[in-house]
């Protein structure tokens, strides 16, 4: 007895699940994905033990079986399948995957060997997937990459301590925080790459989802998807305390122009120390970059400015990353001294804050 699945549905499901299948692991079973058929659904699960995701597709079948197949070959075949449908048939420890004229017979491993995906228990909140995705996308560029002593800096912090969910990402040198109106009162730090994939999948498969804060893990659920992410261990830095309450120099500049200028200045500075110098004089902002033995770059544009003149330097990429977190036409830049963090936020709306620590030159 075979079950028939639309190729497009299966591709979409596999794309979401494959993000959780490890590239390298010491447990060979994890290279497989778990397929469970029953009650008119096909459920596909993948995990790397750090996170797991199950994706449900409706199928016409009274059949029920469970097995695991190598994710890579299964997914690749489905992607290249010649017909618009794919048929799955489980016979004698093999999975027969066929589509039109093509068929692939894959060895399987027993589902009993596959780690069980336990349901996360804890406080549950209902959230808009669109808003969650928007918030994750706004901050995710600012996390740290690489093997860190403090792994929480590789994560996005879900902060519910003030009743409304705020998402925060920082690598210790720059920070972005997005305030949402989602009513969440729990907090957890989740790996940025994983959470970004999960929120994409959630937003693609429904408008609302449940988020469950469990012990050391957080679950996400809607009709199609069930995902569990292990929280990152460690104390997230006290981010609220570094956001300046007041600033001395207030600047408003056109955002798109500022981004273009940074892009031009980065041409030089990325070959050397990644630094751009910003000078704010009356009514003008000068962005410059200086590379010994190569040359220097400067561009001056009019801006609105209030408060004392100031010169400051920072990593151009950090500024670009915090600027990419919002869409407003104008950017507000708040400065206090060349040692205080640079505050970057939309000029005409609330809800997003970027901070960049200036550079020591």
């Amino acid at each position: 007895m075979e079950i028939i699945v639309a190729k497009e549905d299966l591709i979409q499901a596999l794309e979401a699940v494959l993000k959780h299948v490890p590239k390298k692991t010491t447990q060979p079973i994890l290279y497989n994905i778990l397929l469970e058929v029953g009650d008119g659904t096909l459920k596909i699960t993948g995990t790397d033990m750090r996170s797991a995701l199950s994706y449900k597709i409706a199928v016409q079948s009274s059949e029920s079986f469970a097995t695991t197949v190598p994710a890579k070959y299964f997914a690749e075949f489905v992607k290249k399948a010649p017909a618009s449908d794919v048929a799955l048939d489980f016979v004698k420890n093999h999975l027969l995957v066929s589509s039109g004229t093509a068929s692939l017979k894959l060895s399987t491993m027993a589902p009993s060997e596959y780690p069980t995906l336990e349901v996360v228990e804890g406080t549950t909140f209902s959230i808009s997937t669109g808003k969650l995705k928007e918030a994750v996308d706004a901050v995710k560029k600012n996390v740290s990459k690489g093997e860190l002593r403090n792994p929480v800096l590789e994560g996005i912090y879900f902060d519910g301590t003030e009743g409304k969910l705020a998402l925060v990402a920082t690598d210790g040198h720059r920070l972005a925080a997005k305030y949402t109106d989602l009513e969440v009162t729990e907090s957890a730090c989740l790996p940025a790459d994983v959470i970004s994939d999960i929120t994409d999948t959630l937003a693609d498969t429904g408008d609302t989802a449940y988020i469950v804060f469990g012990e050391g893990e957080v679950g996400f659920e809607n009709e199609t998807v069930y995902a569990v992410v292990r929280t990152l261990e460690g104390q997230f830095p006290a981010w609220r305390s570094v956001i300046p309450k007041t600033v001395e120099t207030k600047v408003v500049a056109p955002k798109a122009l500022f981004e273009q200028i940074l892009d031009r200045a980065s041409m030089l500075s990325k070959t050397y120390d990644d630094a751009v110098r910003l000078a704010f004089d009356d009514g003008a902002m000068t962005v410059s970059a200086d590379v010994p033995d190569l040359g220097s770059y400067a561009e001056t544009v009019p801006v609105e400015k209030e408060g004392p003149d100031l010169k400051i330097a920072c990593n151009y990429a950090y500024l670009q990353d915090v600027l990419s977190g919002f869409k407003d036409e104008s950017v507000f830049i708040g400065l206090t001294s060349s040692l205080h963090p640079i505050l970057v936020k939309p000029a005409s709306e609330e809800g997003y804050i970027g901070l960049v620590m200036p550079m020591k030159l």
Partner: protein, 390 residues
Amino acid sequence: MKWIIHVDMDAFFASCEQAINPKLKGKPIGVMADPYGRGKKRSVVAAASYEAKRCGVKAGMPPKQALELCPNLILVPAHPSYYGYVHRGTLKYLKTISQEIEDYSIDEFFIAYYGKSPDRVGKDIEAFVKKEYGITCSVGIAPGKLLAKMATEEGKPDGLVWWKPEDIPGVYRYLPVSAIPGIGSNREKLLNQNGIYTLEDLAYTPTSVVKNLLGILGEYYQKIACGVDETPLVLEEPPLKSITRSVTLDYSTHNPLVVEAVGRLLCASLSKGLEEIDAKAKEIFIFLRYDDMSGEANGVKLELYTNNEETIFRAFRELNASMVPYPQGVRSVGVGMTDIRQHYTPSLFYRERPNPLKPVLEHIRQRYGYDSIIPAHLLFAKHYTPIIAE
């Protein structure tokens, strides 16, 4: 015409010691990192005065052997910060002469000089060093870098030798092949076995034969022997990609505390090294070499750019702990940092407070030596390594 002037301090460390302490003038002295204390096992004579050199004492000699050769030898402790001071002062003076300077080592410089009487410039340099610091230097002037260095050797000590292109064939008739820096005893022996003794011999040997003997470098050496020296000056230090400190232990150990103690010294030295170039770094790694010479490394990215000894050591400790138990005895320990920046972004969250004791510690150590006050950790390292964090 372009001249290369090579400046080489005469018996630099020893001369400095004699200049600081006039009682040592005219006496055979040997400069050592630590002539009295812990260093017995591995510390060697770092430099010998000309008086000592006459008895056969050489740099790199164990003190015991040096004393056998020269019973009157006075072993004196080194003062590296003073050598650095003389070096910087001399460099500053040379910069008034030329823009093109290769800061070759603590006691050697190459400068490019475009003009007529380079010998007058050389004399000025010698006079400056003598007047400012009370020590002598030797100067070699030639059309090329290696030639200039060879010329200096001819005039040492306190000499000035100027090789004009027309002089070169003359001196080459008697200079042995080993006069070329880079031709050491092995290469010299090889050339001698093939009948090549002087630079003139080398110049007249067919290139293919020289290449056969010395490989690709043969061609380069032969050019030098023909008086053609295009060796460029290295004017700028390439930016540092990583900084490492390592040491081989006197006895291998299984004890993590010993590795930690040695690590503490290495971290102190690393921190100092970063401070000297006014830089901070963010990634740290440690590497251990075991008895069978196999190695293992482990690294981590810190939360902030640092050159703080305590922060570096804390990371070292954690990394070391993650490598315990060691599969075999540890014979050498190293620590390094990468992602080094002079221009860096400080942390939003953490401030590093410098150790409030640091100025006091440094004061004590400058006066009484590094060993006068040490972290209790180092008691574990005592029998394993003589290294001293300067």
